[in-house]
Amino acid sequence: MTTAILARPTFGQRLLGMWLSAAGFLRLLSQRPVGLIGFIGIVFFLLLAFVAPLFVPFQNDPSLVDIYQTPSPAHPLGTDFQGKDVLNQIVFGGRDILTVAILAALVSTLIAITFGSIAAVVGGKVDSTILAITDVVLTLPKLILLIAVAAILRPTGFLFLAVLLGALQWSSLLRQIRSQVLSLKERDYVEAARSLDLGIVHIVFREILPTMRSYIAIHFIFAMTEAMYAQVFIVILGLVPVSGSNWGIMLYFAQGQGALYFRDSIWYILSPILAISLVQLSLVSFASALEDIFNPRLRGSA
C-alpha cells in the first residue's frame, strides 16, 4: 500500500482515520474489562442525565399518603419523605451535577494547560511566578476554603459554581502539564522545528500537543471526579441555596429528614448514594484504563 498518508487528508480519509482509531481503541479497551465497564457506565449515565429527561415525564406531585413507600412496580425505587417518586428524581437528578462537573473540569483543565504551557514555553520570571502561585495553591486545604467561600459568596448558578470549583482544582494538573511541556520542549524534534523556522503555532499544535492529547484526556476525567466530589460535598453540607433537584440535594434532604434511620426510607437515601458512586467508579476505572493504554509506565496516578 504505497499511497502516502498525506499531510492534508481528504474529508473521507479523515473520517476513515477516525473510525479506524476508534475501533483500534475499543479493541485495546476490551483487553481491560474494568476499563470497559467504566466506559459503558459513563455512556449510560450521560444518556441518563442528558437524554432520558427528554422522554420521561417529570413528576413533581407530592402526596402525603404514600411517604417512604418501599419499592413497588409504581415506584421501582420507592418514594421520598414527600411521597414523590425516587426513580424520577434520580433520572432528573443527574443533569445539573454532570454539567457542573464537566464545566468545572473544563475550567481547571483550561487554566492548567494555558498557564502550564506558558510557564514552560516562556520560562524565566513568568515561569517562577506561575510556579510559586501554583505551589501556594497546591498546599492550601481546598475544601476548607470551599466551605468558607461558599458560605460567604453563596454561589447559586451553574456557571458560578463550576468556575468556583474549577478555580480550586487546577494546581496539581498545572505542575504536571508544565513538566510535560518542559520535557517535550527540550526534545530534538522541537529544536529542529525551530531551526526549520516552522513557527510557534506549528511547534505547539503539531509537535508538542499531539503527544499530550491522551494525557490531557485522562486528567480531564480525574478533574471531573474531583469536581463531583466537591459539588456534592457543599450541597450535602447545605452551604449552597437549594434550587431544583439533583442527587446532592436528594442526599441533603434525605439526611435532613432522618431517612438514614427509618427502615423503609433506605431506598430514598441509597439511590443518590449509588448513583453518585457509580458515576465516580465509572470515571476512575475508565481513566485508569486510558492511563494504562497510553503511557503504561506512568509513575503514580494523578
Binding site: 474494568v34 486545604p141 460567604i152 496539581s172 505542575r175 465516580q280 485508569s288
Partner: protein
C-alpha cells in the same frame, strides 16, 4: 560514544561534587520555608479580603443586623462601633490600617472573639477542636500510607497475579467513591440496618465524664470514638498509595542498580527494602504532603456525619451561625497546620533523597 547533550547538561560532569551539593542543601530548605510563609501570608490576606471587601460582606451584614434588631434606635455609626469591637478591628480606619492591625493581631494569635460566646477568643475555640482533627486525620493517613506502601510493594512483586489485580483494582475503586458516601453507607448498613456498631455511643471525641489523661482507658476511648472517621480517612487514600507505590516499585524493579545488586548476590530481602523500597517510596513522601491538605479539608463532612467534634464540625457550626471571626480563624489555622505538615514532608524528602536534597520536591 559520548553523552554530550544539550549545553546545560555539561554542567554536571566536571563540577566538584561536594561543594556544589553543599550549596544545594541550604538553598532548597530556605526556599521551602519561604514558600510556607508565603502560603500562610496569602491565606491570611485572602480571608481578610473575603471577610472585609466582598460585596455584602459579613461586616456590612452584621451592621445591618444590629440596626434592625435595635429597630432603628442604633445609628449606622453606633452599629459600626459595636461591629468593630465584635470583629476586634477599627472599622473606621482606612482599609490598609485595618489590614496591618489584622496581621499584627494574628502575630499575637489574637484573631478576635466569637460573635456568640463573645467572651471566648477564637484561638481557644480552635485549639480545643484542632487536635481532634489532626489526631483522627493523622492516624488515618499514616495507616493508609503504611498499609498502602506494603500492599503496593507486594502487588508489584507479584505483578499480574490475582493478588495484584484485586489489590490495585479494589484499592483504586474504594478510593474513587466519595468518602462521605462510604460514611453514610457505613451508618446505614453497619449501624441502622444490622446494628453491628452502636454509632450513637461513638459521638463526640471521647465519652463525656472520662478523665482526660495518658491512661490506657482514656486512649482506648479516644480510638473507640475516632474509629469510624479514621476508617474513612484510611479508605479515602488507600487506593492512591497502593497504585502509586505499585507503579513506583515496578519502575524501580527495572532499574539497573537492582540487576547489579542481584548480580552481586544480595539477598532478596535486602534488595526489596534498601534498593527497591527506598527508591520507590521517595515520590510518595511528597504526595503525602499534598494529601494532608486534601484530607483535612474533607474532614468537615466526615466529622458532621459521625458527630466527631473536630475543627471541620466547628467550622460548619460557625458557618451556620455566621460567626465570621471563628470562620476566619479556622481557615487560617488549618492552613497553617497543613502548611507546617507540608514543610515537614518536604524536609523529610530532601533528607531521604541525597541526589537533589531539594525541598519542595513535589511530584510533577
Amino acid at each position: 560514544m559520548t553523552t554530550a547533550v544539550a549545553a546545560k547538561s555539561q554542567v554536571r560532569i566536571a563540577v566538584n561534587p561536594r561543594r556544589y551539593l553543599g550549596d544545594a542543601w541550604r538553598h532548597p530548605i530556605a526556599r521551602a520555608v519561604l514558600k510556607a510563609f508565603l502560603t500562610i501570608w496569602v491565606t491570611t490576606t485572602l480571608t481578610f479580603l473575603l471577610i472585609r471587601l466582598m460585596p455584602g460582606s459579613p461586616v456590612e451584614l452584621k451592621i445591618d443586623e444590629l440596626i434592625q434588631t435595635s429597630n432603628g434606635s442604633l445609628s449606622y455609626e453606633e452599629a459600626k462601633a459595636i461591629a468593630s469591637s465584635l470583629f476586634a478591628i477599627n472599622l473606621n480606619a482606612p482599609i490598609h490600617e485595618q489590614y496591618f492591625s489584622f496581621i499584627w493581631n494574628l502575630l499575637h494569635l489574637d484573631i478576635g472573639s466569637s460573635f456568640l460566646s463573645s467572651g471566648t477568643s477564637v484561638t481557644s475555640i480552635i485549639l480545643s477542636v484542632l487536635p481532634w482533627t489532626l489526631f483522627s486525620v493523622g492516624t488515618g493517613l499514616l495507616l493508609s500510607f503504611v498499609v498502602g506502601i506494603g500492599l503496593g510493594l507486594l502487588a508489584a512483586y507479584r505483578r499480574d497475579s490475582l493478588l495484584d489485580r484485586v489489590v490495585s483494582t479494589g484499592g483504586s475503586l474504594v478510593s474513587s467513591i466519595p468518602n462521605y458516601l462510604i460514611a453514610l453507607m457505613m451508618i446505614l448498613f453497619l449501624g441502622v440496618q444490622t446494628h453491628l456498631i452502636n454509632f450513637t455511643s461513638m459521638r463526640g471525641a471521647y465519652t463525656p465524664g472520662m478523665v482526660p489523661g495518658f491512661t490506657l482507658a482514656f486512649i482506648g476511648d479516644l480510638f473507640y470514638h475516632a474509629s469510624l472517621p479514621i476508617t474513612i480517612y484510611f479508605l479515602t487514600q488507600i487506593g492512591h498509595w497502593i497504585l502509586s507505590m505499585r507503579s513506583a516499585t515496578l519502575s524501580a524493579l527495572e532499574e539497573d542498580y537492582v540487576t547489579a545488586a542481584r548480580a552481586r548476590g544480595l539477598s532478596d530481602g535486602r534488595i526489596r527494602t534498601a534498593y527497591v523500597g527506598r527508591n520507590a517510596v521517595l515520590p510518595l513522601v511528597t504526595q503525602l504532603a499534598i494529601s494532608v491538605g486534601f484530607i483535612v479539608g474533607g474532614a468537615a463532612i466526615i466529622e458532621q456525619i459521625f458527630a466527631y467534634q473536630g475543627v471541620g464540625l466547628r467550622l460548619l457550626a460557625a458557618v451556620t451561625q455566621r460567626d465570621y471571626p471563628v470562620i476566619q480563624g479556622i481557615v487560617m489555622l488549618t492552613t497553617i497546620a497543613v502548611v507546617v505538615a507540608n514543610l515537614a514532608a518536604d524536609l523529610l524528602y530532601s533528607k531521604l533523597d541525597p541526589r537533589i536534597g531539594r525541598a519542595g520536591g513535589a511530584a510533577g
